[in-house]
Symmetry: C2
Subunit: 148 residues, 2 copies
DNA sequence: CTCAATTTAATTTTGCGCAATTTAATTGTG
DNA sequence: CACAATTAAATTGCGCAAAATTAAATTGAG
């Protein structure tokens, strides 16, 4: 690529991915509003619906987020009584995060979201799978590049 | 996909793209730090390096961002004397944003970034182009879905 | 021409992300 | 055992994003 071309906005990988990320976020928003969840809160709930209970650390490892982001998110989810927190008796540094009954029940409604979303996106099942596959691979490659 | 699979974190398109976006941001960060620019400030500068001067509205259309985000960003760029603002005499509602000499000069250093980044990412030129192409297409499709 | 509707930008509020610092608990080494 | 190093989480500060509100300038229909 010519140097002059290379510095143009629409040739930046960062810009296409950044716009796409916000646009996909926007696609989810109406569905998440029905649950009164933000995007990040939804991601946290996804982890908890799989694991039932985990530490702050495990949550961070799953989502690639640190306590600086997660602490306030969990605070809000706990205020809404979707989660509760207690210290791990075996290691008082750790905080165990668990779902309340209300939090568990929310999974029923949330289970509708992935299907609705694919439909709304206009992607076929195959396109969706391929895109997910490509993104996941690229993510691993970039994570590799960032840790070298 | 099974319903139970569909609600898992790692099968969410939103999560893969969101992680990827933050990871790519992280890839840029050391280079942007050298210019003392944030990611969003860099995107604004990319537009200005192409257009020399534009209105707040045009900037927002290019970046898919509104004045709620851009006003404070431009305020900081102007405080750093990379840009300056004045009202359009033909239409006093419009704000014209232009590069200062210092802002123009910064392009020289910034022009190195795209190349350095591809190298650091570990992607081949072909992979980079293909990824950019795929993202741009998908962006358009999702934007379409969001405006329907 | 006039006034309602539209356009443009700024501001306010809420909630992330991330870096850096702090605090408390645990672990490892001599 | 002692104490330095490490680990887990919370906190602080800054800079976005997005929604909603406000204000000022312009446009357009009657």
């Amino acid at each position: 690529m010519e140097k002059d071309e290379a510095i143009k906005l629409n040739n930046q990988l960062c810009f296409s991915i950044y716009s796409l990320s916000r646009e996909i976020n926007k696609l989810y928003r109406p569905f998440l509003e029905e649950l009164s969840l933000t995007y990040t809160q939804y991601l946290v709930m996804l982890v908890l619906w799989e694991k039932e209970s985990c530490t702050m650390k495990e949550l961070g490892d799953s989502l690639f987020l640190d306590s600086g982001t997660l602490s306030p998110v969990l605070k809000r989810l706990t205020e809404r009584a979707l989660t509760y927190r207690k210290r791990d008796p075996d290691d008082e540094r750790r905080v165990l995060i668990s779902l309340t009954e209300e939090g568990k029940q929310l999974k029923e409604t949330a289970a509708e979201i992935p299907g609705k979303l694919i439909k709304k996106s206009g992607l076929s099942e195959e396109e969706f799978s391929k895109t997910l596959f490509d993104f996941t691979n690229l993510l691993q490659q970039i994570q590799q590049a960032n840790t070298e």
